[in-house]
């Protein structure tokens, strides 16, 4: 059976720019297939407490969209083939103008965007430049999204489709309900293998990955769990953190491979 993809989220420049780069290396070495870099926003409505706090602290430390693009530039240089997508909120693109910001992101080496507050109805300009610049436009679908809307979303999404696993914001969950698995199965069926189905929100263990995979996920997204691991580490002990992250990502990757 096909190997499942592992998508890892980090907050750009968090906990500080130098450590952040080292964290990315550990995650890539551990086997991440795609890196999702968050650009902090002051009002992250789709995020739970862990990413909210990281966002807030990154902004307090002076992290700007430009600094995140520089981080992408350096990461791209180090890993020429690594897919890198940006996760942020629409206003960050809007402020510069969609065209200008997306061109800058493309130049830095970005492959696509995940915007949790962008709907397909409002996406005309965003899609226009995604196409022009060959950037993936990764839309989200939720457990309560209708089949008609799932089909529309599958049509306009490129790269992959981001399935929100739960009713709620980002952040670790101990367990998942039946509705999550039903939703994944349904979306998988509607996509008939034309688009990759990636499942995110709440995923943190190899067990979760196996569960999602069994119901048809092509990839999983892990975010808050990584941020939490970063938070639990003392700033001075970076080597320890890198080791911990490497082992953690490896354990997730193993779950993606052995099924």
């Amino acid at each position: 059976m096909k190997q499942k993809g592992l998508i890892c989220y980090i907050m750009g420049g968090y906990p500080n720019p130098t450590t952040c780069e080292k964290i990315i290396s550990s995650i890539v070495d551990g086997g991440a297939d795609i890196i999702e870099i968050g650009i902090p926003f002051s009002d992250p409505i789709a995020d739970g407490p862990v990413i909210q706090e990281a966002s807030y602290r990154a902004l307090q430390n002076g992290i700007t969209p430009d600094k995140c693009l520089n981080l992408i530039k350096r990461t791209r240089k180090k890993y020429p083939e690594l897919p890198i997508v940006i996760m942020t909120y629409t206003n960050i693109l809007q402020k510069n103008g969609f065209r200008k910001f997306m061109e800058m992101a493309k130049d830095a080496g970005t492959d696509g965007f995940v915007l949790p507050d962008m709907t397909i109805e409002e996406s005309k300009e965003y899609l226009e430049y995604s196409k022009k610049l060959e950037l993936a436009s990764i839309f989200l679908v939720a457990p309560n999204t209708s089949n008609l809307r799932i089909r529309k979303t599958l049509d306009v999404s490129t790269g992959f489709v981001y399935v929100v696993s739960v009713y709620g914001t980002t952040g670790m969950r101990n367990s998942f309900n039946e509705y999550t698995l039903t939703a994944i199965k349904n979306i998988k069926k509607l996509s008939s293998n034309k688009k990759n189905i990636s499942v995110g929100f709440g995923i943190s263990t190899p067990h979760h990955i196996k569960l999602m995979s069994n119901y048809g996920a092509d990839a999983v997204i892990v975010g808050s769990a990584i941020i939490k691991m970063i938070n639990s580490n003392k700033v001075s002990n970076i080597i320890h953190l890198q080791k911990k992250l490497l082992n953690y990502i490896k354990s997730l990757k193993t779950a993606c491979t052995n099924r």
């Binding site: 409505i45 839309f139 999204t145 009713y167």
Partner: protein, 402 residues
């Protein structure tokens, strides 16, 4: 030509408005839109709402000719639309009753709301109590500190109040937290937004429920004069009392419309909430509108003496009215608002909330430049009981007196 009263068209006011929301909320917003479209022209719904507005909330509120203030200023006649006399102490009750009734028709039992000054929280708690619904209110911890009285009122009315400690700990963060709650409990929860902000259909729906203010002004002024008002003046935070006052007059071109934003410590200090004057286009809380934001698109901290105006965004229809120059948006500082607070208290025996003091202050400036046979209407959106502590604190700071 399209009439201004026909907006929103496809959920938009020109290019403003729209729906920028997490996917989980899309079905809920669509359900709300369908439900509202069904009841908005339903005579039974209107009858039921009117019943509560009249017998429970005390509508119509009076239009009062402020003779003493008019004589003091020496210019145009100043009328006050007394929303401060509405049950709950502010215009917010109009919208809360409308939306709670709608929620009930939709079969939703749990109401959530955000609040800044606490007035919308109180309005929600009241409407939920009288209609047998459960209310939970999100309020920034800084706002709780400066509006303690309203916290107790909400609790007395049976609402559960959640203190919000994220971000700037004020209104915008309370909205963020309410949205997160809604994403999590989308199936059984109704989100009752308190101003003409948020994703479509909220700006339209809240405007419609508040338009009773402007409609009443239209008929009540006829008791004083055959002429239409020359100017309507309202304070603007999110802009719901202003939209409700303006809306019935939007296509009467001879009526001038003025929105007064919080100039805080002065525009040049950067400590203000004057979104329409100083902001730029952006996307927040589900809508395309004007925002106070930095060069990177991060939302700024705002400041105003009145918690109810302390918001970095504004209703999208106001932005349209500004763009096409149908309405003029000006500012009033904390000190000017305080001055109006004392003047109105002494001259008319009315202690106003600090929010509409911004409008009263501008009315005093404008009246001076107008003829004595012209009429100005100020919407006095709330009463001042909640602000007494704040006023005492400020008076001490600026005059050394207490």
């Amino acid at each position: 030509m399209t009439k201004l009263r026909e907006f929103p068209i496809a959920g938009k006011y020109g290019k403003y408005g729209g729906k920028y929301i997490p996917e989980t909320l899309v079905p809920a917003i669509n359900e709300l839109e369908d439900a509202y479209e069904k009841i908005r022209n339903d005579s039974n719904f209107k009858k039921e709402l009117d019943y509560y507005l009249q017998n429970y909330a005390g509508r119509p509120t009076p239009l009062f000719f402020a003779k003493n203030l008019t004589e003091y200023v020496g210019g145009a006649r100043i009328f006050l639309k007394r929303e401060d006399l509405l049950h709950g102490g502010a215009h917010k009750t109009n919208n809360c009753l409308g939306q709670c009734l709608l929620a009930k028709k939709m079969g939703k039992k749990r109401i959530i709301a955000e609040t800044g000054a606490g007035q919308h929280g109180v309005g929600t708690a009241m409407a939920a109590a009288v209609l047998g619904l459960k209310a939970e209110i999100y309020m920034g911890s800084i706002d709780i500190e400066r509006q303690k009285l309203n916290l107790f009122r909400m609790e007395l009315l049976g609402a559960k109040v959640h203190s919000v400690n994220s971000g700037t700990k004020t209104l915008k963060d309370a909205i963020n937290e309410a949205l997160r709650d809604w994403i999590t409990n989308v199936k059984d929860t109704y989100y009752l937004i308190g101003s003409v902000v948020g994703p479509h259909p909220y700006p339209m729906m809240v405007r419609d429920f508040q338009s009773v203010i402007g409609e009443e002004i239209k008929s009540q002024l006829r008791n004083f004069t055959k002429r239409s008002p020359h100017a309507l003046i309202c304070c603007v935070g999110g802009g719901s009392n202003a939209m409700g006052t303006f809306f019935p007059f939007l296509d009467d071109k001879d009526v001038s419309l003025y929105g007064v934003e919080a100039g805080g410590l002065g525009i040049r200090t950067g400590k203000h909430s004057a979104t329409l004057n100083e902001g730029s286009e952006g996307i927040l809380h589900g809508m395309r509108t004007y925002l106070l934001q930095d060069e990177f698109g991060q939302i700024n901290d705002t400041h105003s003496i009145s918690a109810g105006l302390d918001y970095p965004g504004v209703g999208p229809q106001h932005v349209q009215l500004k763009d096409i120059e149908r309405a003029e948006y000006v500012t009033c500082t904390d000190n000017e608002a305080l001055d109006a607070f004392f003047k109105l208290s002494r001259l008319e025996g009315i202690i106003p909330a600090l929010e509409p003091c911004h409008a009263v202050s501008y009315a005093m400036k404008l009246a001076k430049k107008m003829r004595r046979d012209e009429n100005i209407i100020v919407t006095l959106s709330g009463r001042g009981d909640k602000d007494i502590d704040q006023v005492i604190k400020f008076r001490k700071k600026y005059t050394g007196r207490s």
